[in-house]
């Protein structure tokens, strides 16, 4: 691949230079989940990282704020995989400006779930398990080779993650060019996939567990495994998700209030023994 080709991966002349784009994704990669919050999770990280390139795309203040608000919203996925998504959305915003707002949001919300599934498995579970077992075993024998190899692999991964961003950016442009006005249908369809994953997240990521038991003489019945799990697995997480979703839909309830409510419930639950940490 020639240097020139690399610098102009799309036909439409972009507002941003390759360097500006890379500086944006490097900002995101640096911040990562370092300002993670329970409400919008990686949202602020994306805003912080892309605020400069977005400024260039949206010279008008109003549009800029609108675009920022869009990215302030909930976003969360494996950071390595996020690069693909953010590459694509940057391409979309660069080409269509504020008109792409809904499509951008839709692409983010629908892809982040499935991408987290595959990304977390590889990046946070498989890779550290492999490297950790090898390097860990070497280490207990006083040998640091595995640890050094790990850092080298991380560097390789760092490079690959920038490539993933480029991939997303180029695909993003292709996507909008080929889909054209059908983009809204496309994003609606991807939302369906995203929502399917949301159903899974409720069942697996959200953890609510009660250690309560009925006990009398030699008879003991655990509320969680003996009753709740028999009615429906992940019953409590489903109820909590429904409750939170409903509360968030009410004018009087802000996400912050909901978070505080959950913290209070958790503390009270821990104090009274109504809630507990699920034994592995």
């Amino acid at each position: 691949m020639s240097k020139e080709k690399k610098q102009t991966p799309v036909n439409t002349p972009g507002v941003l230079t390759r360097k500006e784009r890379h500086s944006a994704i490097l900002r995101y990669m640096t911040m990562g989940v370092n300002n993670f919050n329970y409400e919008t999770q990686q949202g602020p990280s994306v805003v912080w990282a892309f605020s400069k390139v977005l400024r260039k795309i949206y010279p008008k203040d109003d549009e800029y704020v609108e675009a920022l608000d869009n990215h302030f919203k909930y976003f969360n996925t494996t950071t390595a995989m996020a690069n693909i998504i953010l590459g694509a959305t940057l391409a979309m915003e660069e080409k269509d400006g504020i008109k792409s707002k809904d499509a951008v949001q839709s692409l983010k919300t629908s892809l982040m779930g499935p991408f987290a599934g595959i990304g977390d498995t590889i990046i946070w579970v498989l890779f550290p398990t492999i490297m950790g077992s090898i390097a860990g075993y070497m280490a207990v024998q006083g040998n640091p080779t595995g640890a050094i190899a790990w850092i080298l692999f991380d560097m390789l991964l760092f490079w690959a993650r920038i490539k993933l961003f480029d991939l997303g950016y180029n695909s993003g442009v292709k996507l909008i060019t080929s889909l054209g006005e059908r983009l809204s249908i496309f994003t609606e369809a991807t939302s369906v996939m995203g929502l399917t994953v949301v159903g899974t997240l409720i069942a697996t990521v959200v953890k609510v567990y009660t250690p309560l038991t009925f006990m009398t003489g030699k008879v003991k019945l655990a509320i969680q495994s003996g009753i709740l799990d028999k009615i429906m697995p992940a019953l409590l997480p489903a109820l909590v998700a429904y409750m939170v979703y409903t509360l968030l839909g009410k004018k009087s309830w802000t996400p912050t209030k909901v978070i505080l409510l959950i913290v209070v419930i958790s503390l009270v639950g821990a104090f009274t023994g109504l809630l507990g940490v699920q034994p592995q």
Binding site: N37, A147, F271
Partner: protein, 266 residues
């Protein structure tokens, strides 16, 4: 290396490694890699690697997914290595003291992620006021808080000594640490709830129901569910396209039935 410089470097190490792992992930924050650096600093690579390896094998499979909080084995490793080098404590003692510090960090993690919420709101506020520089700057508080999470226990350990750790641990009642851990398990639901409000949840509630049943009852992993979701998405896309084409065709023929399509979309 003079003790003071060692202390300084060892103080910075966990804070940096944490931010690195949560961001660029080059050094990362696993026991063996931070142990490697700690060994270089303290000048006893062999002991450092043995302690690090012990914690590493202990932490296999531990992963903080979806914003979950997990024990801070990196911090535990550094504390252990520091104590072994300074006090000549055996490896067993080093591990025994390091571990509770790593576990304590779960609580801090939850508290920081709660605190970050306020930063996020503040930042958005600045954006609305068009104070874009402030909007950016305030975000540094996040990394700062995370730095503190590892900085504070390290300072205590270096200045007061390991006994301080247990003192602190004894002050906090069990139900508070437990409660924060429970909250940490439950809080990802807020993000999910927000997400549902951004998505066409009501229209495609069936997708959530199906995903839930496959995951909760049939234990289908998220990637399997995503493939099924993709299958459904393809159908939705095809139907959407068919409808759009039909509408276009109708418009071309001069029959305006645009309303019908809109009705469906509501």
């Amino acid at each position: 290396m003079p003790h003071l410089l060692q202390d300084l470097l060892i103080l910075i190490l966990p804070a940096y490694a944490l931010l690195d792992n949560q961001g660029i992930t080059i050094l990362n924050y696993w026991p063996v890699t931070v142990g490697l650096v700690a060994g270089l600093i303290m000048g006893d690579m062999h002991t450092a690697m043995v302690i690090a390896g012990t914690f590493q094998l202990m932490s296999l499979g531990v992963a903080g997914l979806g914003g979950a909080s997990v024990p801070d084995y990196g911090l535990a490793t550094i504390v252990g290595i520091y104590l072994a080098a300074r006090t000549g404590a055996g490896i067993g003692t080093a591990v025994a003291v390091g571990l509770p510090v790593g576990l304590l960090a779960i609580q801090f993690d939850v508290v920081i992620k709660l605190a970050n919420n306020f930063i996020a709101h503040k930042a958005q506020e600045y954006a609305h006021k068009k104070e874009f520089n402030k909007m950016r700057m305030i975000n540094w508080l996040g990394p700062l808080f995370f730095t503190m999470k590892d900085f504070i226990p390290m300072v205590i350990i270096i200045t007061v000594g390991p006994s301080a750790v247990s003192a602190v641990l004894n002050v906090i009642p069990k139900w508070v640490t437990n409660g924060l851990t429970i909250a940490g398990g439950m809080l990802p639901v807020v993000g999910i709830g927000m997400l549902m409000h951004y998505m066409p949840t009501k229209k495609y509630i069936w997708a959530i129901l199906a995903g839930f049943v496959f995951a909760a009852y049939l234990k289908l992993p998220v990637f399997g569910v995503a493939i099924l979701g993709l299958a459904a998405a393809i159908i939705i896309f095809q139907q959407g396209m068919a409808k759009a084409n039909k509408k276009n065709a109708a418009v071309a023929e001069g029959v305006d039935d645009s309303e019908e399509g809109d009705d469906y979309d509501e």
